[in-house]
Symmetry: D2
Subunit: 349 residues, 4 copies
């Protein structure tokens, strides 16, 4: 399939925000044709009714997964919730390349998944083999992947910001404190009181304090990079904005390292990267400046407290943190230009 | 003056948000009569034109400071910016009790003020004597104060959350990491591009990363409580909401301490406090639940990372972080019931 | 009961926004004691868990309606949805005075109610006798009422703005065009996709175009005032704010009338009213300036188009449009000072 | 120039929102190369500093207008404020095609401009000849234009919604009532108190009631279409959202016309239009569904009041209401595909 000129892609879970965003991006990809668009709970409805902003996709209807002939599909993006995603993926024909946006195949060790998500894994071996699709660090592995597990949105922002420094051994990987902030779209389109406008506007609160599900995912990757098990403090907050994810990370430099070395490591890691931008000294990332794009903006600042640095990463949770990175991964898998379909300008103001 | 039945109060800097909020609260205080309301740049304008929500205050006009006979005033609340505030306060007659909401008298050591704010202090000795008005920790000193320096909004939320634990020696005071979030009103009513709706809505960014002015103020008080000099990492963020301030603090327990002891210390410190509420286990503070009130909501959660706890504090920056605490301080100074004029319900949703 | 010194009040439907707001106001009313607080779907839960901002109401639990001894209650505020409200109200003992905030008893002619709401009325005779509690126009009737039907939020803003002019015969009552805008709390706390933050923030849309349920209610009262049946064009919009309701009304002056006469009629109608303020020429109402209060701000402007005027009314939908007006009505019924418990300052910014 | 393969375009007033949006769109236009980017007040600064979301435009600096050799430029988009725009445009070499986004050349009769904007017109004859660039109604004229005056944002939404019906004589053109709502970006990036986050969030107010500057512009075009002078009632409101413009128009059908005929006229007028979509019966426009796009969404609903219809139009004020329509006009002038550079998906949520 690598190098193919045109593929047919299906989308599972198309009635949620992740599904909608994936479709928005797919619609403009020059080498992808949108095939079946599934959302069992809304099967039969017009996509343009469920998501009027996708009117350009025409009179397409949402389908039930069971009603689709998957053999006519080359690639499937699964935007289903964890648990449901593996149920469907394990039933797809082997010819279909799967890009999973859920948590189901992110863990090399399925028992960590099971402990974290409280769901039995149906295919632990496949989870072990799946490629963890943090694109900038996964290009080689993606070339041969048959299943890609796209990182969670928080892990994407966090790992892009931290990995170069952990790999270079410049910061104490076991003393990291990650304070994260997300827009409300990160919680999905499900009907929960906490996501009502009147509950989420004009205020702020932390959630899952001390035990968020993305911590073990971050730890898996940092431990791998550090070469030893590490734990992180990770505290997310819900911010009254629709899109955007922001991590502010407090790190101790190891003895002998300084802020300049940390900056140099970040700049070297991302020199030439189309989507990851290390900001110039003095500039601070802002979710507004990456809104609607697949970009990550990263900054490093020396703290007043000697020996500490502050690292900041900003992404659009629905693009680089979800549908955009998924397509970026497919582009790499296919040997295509990595920015294909993803060269969107940021929407500001 | 202590025990007086009724005082006349003046407000300096009444055309900003802090001034307006102080007036909103003063208007309902049973023992205070509003005297001169000053805002030099807008002198002569009707208060109800500058702040139509204060229509109930009638046809009062803003005055120039120089035009007022301050001898007819018992108390002055200064809501002027730092620098300007000391200029005016040092000219007031000695009979006037001053509650300063600016940073001008918060530092015992004026050289720290000068280094932090880049302004020469006119009255270092008075600054040394001023009472740092974090009410719950200043009641004794307030009884004899002639000048009260109200804490900054971030220091208020931070210190209320930390002081009981630092005083009890339960957490490592020199490894504290404070991630703070503020609504836009914290930046005042001044015309800055960053505070425009289109720049501040629907997104998030950190600011003053690594060097915010409130860090030295927090350190002064924590050092005092710890009995030795400490530094803190303090990183504030601007959140698309009008009111509210939120601090998420990461602390290491000292050897021998545990989360239960930390909780017990917080609960003991604030048992019976009318305005500081330690939430039950499982509850997380939310700025929405204290909006418009003088309350602080505080929580403590044991982190997944052994030996660490997460402390959270939420206040309304314009009330407990500003005008409300100022009035609370005056109530204490006068020997009045501390909640006088401050028994407002929270506005939710 | 009139002139009683203290009453016990119960609240039905206390887990919605209207219920919460009624409780927020009741908590500070000097002559009312909060009795049973009911919400069948959440019976048994702590009120402070369902609405943490009401923490001051202590360890009170939500109760099931059936579990309450209503004979110990003097007054009941029903914040139940239409349909459910009459079901419960018709079962209450006769001694209980009822203030209904739903639509159930607003129509003198139950068949209009039935056509509008698609619900059979259980007590058409009682609906005919109920007092339509637009307080400023209902004081006499309220003195003898046993059941008060509080107006809808849109009708409140609309009728306060229009009634003096229709009564005076200054505007063409059958050519009125009412363009209304509401914050999201007007839609309640129910779980609907349209009320999710991501669906309601950062955008605007009209709804119920051409057939909103509040049009017949407005027409009932305008027809009564005009002395002949009138119809109105009424188009509501959902605005990304939590509280606030705004009506912009386009009216044709009748022959011989002019804008000055219209202004004079409004000013005369509301001179001395504590809660209805006709703004000075040049000032425009803003929902922010009445937020959290029982006030209505009204303005009249002569249009560029000769013979037309533009009328604007702004209220807080949860206060004057709901819980506040309900308490104002009770104050009138009891012969108490009308502002009792309602002298709240506006929360701005 | 018509049919050219590639043009160099300059942008005047590039430090405002309109300028930024024009640049965002130009950056992706396959036949346009961005030349000089001017903003006198910020000349010398990096564009990426002034608008970090445009980082993709590289290390380009803002220039002073006087410093540019305009002979190297084929087309200029002027995003300057009215008054300033004509000052600069009248100095440009004749070879430069001008697309003016200000109000300066929108009026055939310069005296109307002067009365409306309080500014003397420097080139009344040129204003008379300028093409009023409401693209869908200006294609023929655009082919020969040397100067295009892009419509205001409100007139764009209003005229697209009304023109087919006024031209067809189906509605009473002299009884139109236009209730308009705009996001805050419509007010530009200038520093005004009313545009601060704390003043514009969480509330709503009308402005320029009875005398907004866009009314005469709308009237010019409607009068032209109606074949006789007409006046309109036009009342705009500021809504707490960044982008989006919404007009709700109340119209009387003429004798003999009905809602079906009105719908048919709209559908016929816009059949095949790439950017103007008449929604199906039952669907209501939403600014969210056109955000970031050059689309207009239009709906027509029969009112409950016989003989009246409600017309609704929604656009993104910065795209179809500004930079997008400007580029659409250039595409038409050049004989290019009209959607070039404008095939952007809507950003939702």
């Amino acid at each position: 399939m690598r190098g193919a000129e045109r593929l047919v892609v299906g989308v599972l879970g198309a009635s949620g925000y992740t599904g909608a965003e994936t479709l928005r991006l797919l619609a403009r990809h020059p080498k992808l044709a949108i095939g079946p668009v599934c959302a069992n709970a809304q099967a039969g409805r017009l996509l343009a009714e469920v998501f009027p902003h996708l009117a350009e996709l025409g009179d397409r209807r949402l389908e039930a997964i069971e009603a689709v002939d998957w053999n006519a599909c080359d690639v499937v993006f699964s935007c289903l919730p964890h648990g449901s995603s593996q149920d469907v993926i394990e039933q797809l024909p082997a010819r279909v390349t799967v890009i999973d946006l859920s948590a189901d195949y992110r863990f090399r060790d399925a028992s960590v998944y099971e402990a974290t998500y409280g769901v039995k894994h149906k295919a632990p071996a496949r989870s072990r083999r799946a490629v963890y699709g943090l694109t900038e660090f996964a290009r080689e592995a993606l070339a041969d992947a048959d299943l890609v597990a796209c990182p969670g949105c928080y892990p994407t922002a966090t790992l892009l910001t931290l990995l170069p420094l952990v790999k270079a051994g410049l910061i104490a990987a076991d003393r990291l404190i990650i304070d994260a902030k997300s827009g409300v779209s990160g919680a999905g389109r499900g009907l929960k009181e906490a996501n009502l406008f009147c509950e989420a506007a004009e205020g702020l609160h932390a959630y899952s304090v001390g035990n968020h599900r993305h911590a073990p995912e971050i730890e898996q990757e940092l431990s791998h990079a550090a070469g030893r098990p590490v734990m992180v403090s990770f505290t997310p907050h819900l911010v009254p904005m629709t899109r955007g994810e922001y991590v502010t990370i407090h790190a101790d430099l190891v003895a002998g390292a300084d802020a300049a070395a940390a900056r140099a490591a970040l700049e070297a890691a991302y020199a030439g990267e189309p989507f990851v931008h290390v900001l110039k000294p003095g500039a601070v990332p802002d979710t507004r400046h990456v809104r609607g794009t697949n970009r990550a903006a990263i900054a490093m600042v020396a703290d007043r407290v000697p020996g500490r640095i502050i690292l900041i990463g900003a992404i659009d949770n629905l693009v680089k943190g979800s549908g955009g990175q998924a397509i970026q991964n497919l582009n790499v898998m296919m040997g295509w230009t990595e920015t294909l379909g993803l060269d969107l300008p940021a929407l500001f103001p």
